[in-house]
C-alpha cells in the first residue's frame, strides 16, 4: 500500500533511522525467538521423559492398587483409606526462563502415608500407596513443566508475531517509504535542475 510520506531530507533521515532500528529489533527478537524455541525444545524433551515416568509410575500404582483391592472387601478398603496420617504442603515460588516467570513447586511430606491398622489390611495396600506417594512428586514436577511450557509457548507465539510483523510489515513498509522519498527527492532535484537550466537559457538569450 502506498504510504503518505512527506518527501523531505529530514523525513529521509528519520525513516533511515527507523529502518535501522526495525532491522536491529527484528534481529534481536529473532534471536530471542530462536533461544526460546531452544529452551522450549529442551522443556518438551524433559516433559516427555517425565510424562513417560509418571505414566509408568501411575500404571504400576493403579495395578498395585487393583491387586490390593482384590485382596480386601470394599468396605474394609474404604475404611482403611478414610484417613491418612501424612500432611503434604506445597510451596510455590517463581523461576525465570528468558525473562518469563514460571512457577516452581516444592512438596513437603510430614508423617506416614499409612493411616490404618494392620489386622484387616494387606501389605499389597501399603505397597500400592507407596507407589502412589512416589508418583506424586513426579506429577507435581510434570505439572510444573507443563505450566512452564504453556507460558513459554504463549511468549514464543507473541515473539513470533512481532518478528513476523517486523519482517513482513514494518521493514518492507519502511523500505517502501524510503524508496518513495528517495524517488520524490530525486524528482524534485531533477525538476529544480531543469528549472535552473531553463532560467540560465533565458538569461543567455537576453
Amino acid at each position: 500500500m502506498q504510504q503518505q510520506v512527506s518527501a523531505t531530507r529530514m523525513e529521509l533521515m528519520n525513516y533511515k533511522k527507523r529502518l535501522v532500528l526495525a532491522k536491529r529489533g527484528h534481529k534481536l527478537l529473532k534471536d530471542k525467538r530462536d533461544e526460546m524455541m531452544r529452551q522450549f525444545m529442551i522443556l518438551i524433551q524433559d516433559y516427555r521423559d517425565l510424562r513417560n515416568k509418571v505414566e509408568a509410575a501411575l500404571s504400576g500404582a493403579f495395578q498395585g492398587f487393583i491387586v490390593a483391592r482384590s485382596g480386601m472387601a470394599n468396605e474394609f478398603l474404604e475404611e482403611a483409606l478414610l484417613t491418612s496420617k501424612d500432611k503434604i504442603s506445597m510451596t510455590v515460588s517463581k523461576g525465570n526462563i528468558m525473562n518469563i516467570k514460571i512457577p516452581k513447586l516444592s512438596l513437603e511430606y510430614k508423617g506416614d502415608i499409612i493411616g490404618y491398622g494392620f489386622s484387616e489390611t494387606s501389605g499389597d495396600l501399603d505397597y500400592s500407596l507407596k507407589l502412589f506417594a512416589d508418583a506424586l512428586p513426579l506429577m507435581v514436577r510434570l505439572s510444573e513443566k507443563e505450566k512452564a511450557i504453556q507460558l513459554l509457548a504463549v511468549d514464543i507465539e507473541k515473539t513470533r508475531r512481532r518478528v513476523n510483523a517486523l519482517e513482513h510489515v514494518m521493514v518492507p513498509s519502511l523500505e517502501d517509504a524510503l524508496h518513495q522519498i528517495v524517488l520524490r527527492l530525486g524528482e524534485i532535484e531533477r525538476s529544480a535542475l531543469t528549472r535552473l537550466m531553463k532560467v540560465k537559457d533565458i538569461v543567455r538569450k537576453h
Binding site: I66, F76, E79, Y116
Partner: protein
C-alpha cells in the same frame, strides 16, 4: 500334620446334626477346578453361570451384572452365617465371626466421626448389631451398644481427648476385637479355638512387624500395633524389629511358623514382597482348621466351614476384580497357586 500335634477336641452332642450338615456343605465349597473354570470364563455370562453352579445363583437375577460382585459375595456370606446360626446349638460361633464386622463398623464410624467424613461406603452389612444403634451411641442419643463395644467406644474417646491420630482408632479397635474373641474362646472352652486365635494373632503380628520395617516407620508404631495374646511374646517381636531381615526370618524358622518363613520368606527378603507370606498365613490357618475334620460333633467344623467360606470369597474376589480390571490371567493364576499349591 502329625497326629501327636493335634489338640484334644471335645465331644459335644449338640453339634451332632450340624456337623453332618456341614460335611455336606463343605463339598459345595469351590475348589481349584471351579476357580480355574471361573478364571478361564470368556464372558460375563459364563462367569455368572460358574457362580450359579456353586450356590451364588440365587443372588444373581436377570438384571445383575458381574460388576456387582461385592453385593453378591456379601449376600452369599451372609447366608452362610445365617445357616451356621440356625445349625449351631448356641449362636456363639456365628456371632464371633459376625462380630468382626461390628467392630469394623464401629471403627469406620469412629474414624468418620473424628474427621467429619461420610462413613456409609465403609460400613458392612454383615455385622450383627444395627449400625443405627452405634450411630445413636456415638451421637449421644443412646447409651449402650453391647458391653464389648461400649468399652471400645470409651477407650477410643478417652484416647482422642489427648491425641487425634485416626490410625490409633484402628489399632485400639483391632486390639479390642482380639480381646473379645479371646474371651469368647475361653467362654466356649474349646482349646482348638484358643489356639486358633493365638495363631492368628502371631501371624498378624509377624506380618505387622515386616510391614512396619518395610515402611521404615518408627518403633512406637510397632509397640502400638502388636496385638496381645499370641504364642510369640511381643517383646521378642520388638527385639526383632532392631535386627536384620535375615535375623527375623531365622527367628521365625525356629517357631511353629517355619513352613511360612521357608516358603515365603525369600520373596520378602529379596523383593520386599509380603503378599506371598500373607497368603501362606491364610493357608496355614486353614491347615490348622483342617484338624476340625476329625471332629464328629463339636463347634470346630462350623468354625472351619465359615473360614473356608471366607477363603472362597477372598479367592473369588481376586479372580473377579482381576478379570473385571483386565489384570493378566497369569498374574491371577500365580496368586491362586499360593492358595492351592
Amino acid at each position: 500334620m502329625a497326629y501327636s500335634s493335634l489338640i484334644k477336641m471335645k465331644w459335644d452332642s449338640r453339634y451332632l446334626s450340624a456337623v453332618g450338615n456341614i460335611r455336606v456343605l463343605e463339598k459345595r465349597i469351590m475348589g481349584r477346578p471351579a476357580m480355574v473354570r471361573l478364571l478361564e470364563a470368556r464372558s460375563e455370562d459364563e462367569m455368572c453361570r460358574v457362580l450359579g453352579d456353586y450356590g451364588y445363583g440365587e443372588f444373581l437375577d436377570d438384571g445383575s451384572s458381574i460388576h456387582d460382585f461385592e453385593s453378591i459375595l456379601s449376600a452369599h456370606l451372609r447366608r452362610s452365617y445365617e445357616l451356621i446360626e440356625k445349625m449351631s446349638a448356641g449362636r456363639l460361633i456365628a456371632r464371633i465371626s459376625r462380630r468382626r464386622y461390628d467392630f469394623h463398623n464401629l471403627k469406620a464410624l469412629l474414624k468418620a466421626d473424628l474427621l467429619g467424613e461420610d462413613p456409609e461406603p465403609s460400613l458392612s452389612t454383615l455385622g450383627e448389631i444395627p449400625v443405627s444403634r452405634m450411630k445413636d451411641v456415638l451421637s449421644g442419643k443412646a447409651k449402650e451398644i453391647s458391653p464389648e463395644l461400649d468399652v471400645v467406644v470409651r477407650d477410643v474417646k478417652a484416647y482422642l481427648e489427648n491425641e487425634s491420630s485416626p490410625q490409633v482408632v484402628d489399632l485400639l479397635v483391632d486390639k479390642a476385637y482380639i480381646d473379645y474373641i479371646s474371651k469368647m474362646g475361653s467362654e466356649i472352652g474349646i482349646q482348638f479355638f484358643d489356639r486358633l486365635v493365638s495363631k492368628q494373632v502371631d501371624l498378624t503380628n509377624i506380618k505387622t512387624l515386616m510391614r512396619i520395617r518395610k515402611m521404615e516407620s518408627n518403633r512406637k508404631l510397632l509397640v502400638d500395633a502388636l496385638l496381645p495374646g499370641g504364642e510369640i511374646d511381643n517383646a521378642v517381636l520388638l527385639r526383632l524389629y532392631d535386627r536384620s531381615n535375615e535375623d527375623i526370618l531365622s527367628a521365625l524358622r525356629r517357631t511353629s511358623y517355619a513352613s511360612i518363613a521357608n516358603a515365603g520368606g525369600g520373596e520378602w527378603l529379596h523383593k520386599g514382597d509380603i503378599s506371598k507370606l500373607e497368603h501362606l498365613s491364610d493357608n496355614f490357618i486353614l491347615g490348622y482348621l483342617g484338624q476340625a475334620r476329625i471332629v464328629t460333633s463339636g463347634p470346630e467344623p462350623l468354625l472351619s466351614y465359615l473360614m473356608q467360606k471366607d477363603k472362597e470369597i477372598k479367592i473369588l474376589r481376586i479372580i473377579l476384580v482381576g478379570k473385571i480390571n483386565s489384570i493378566p490371567l497369569d498374574l491371577i493364576r500365580e496368586r491362586l497357586t499360593v492358595f492351592y499349591g
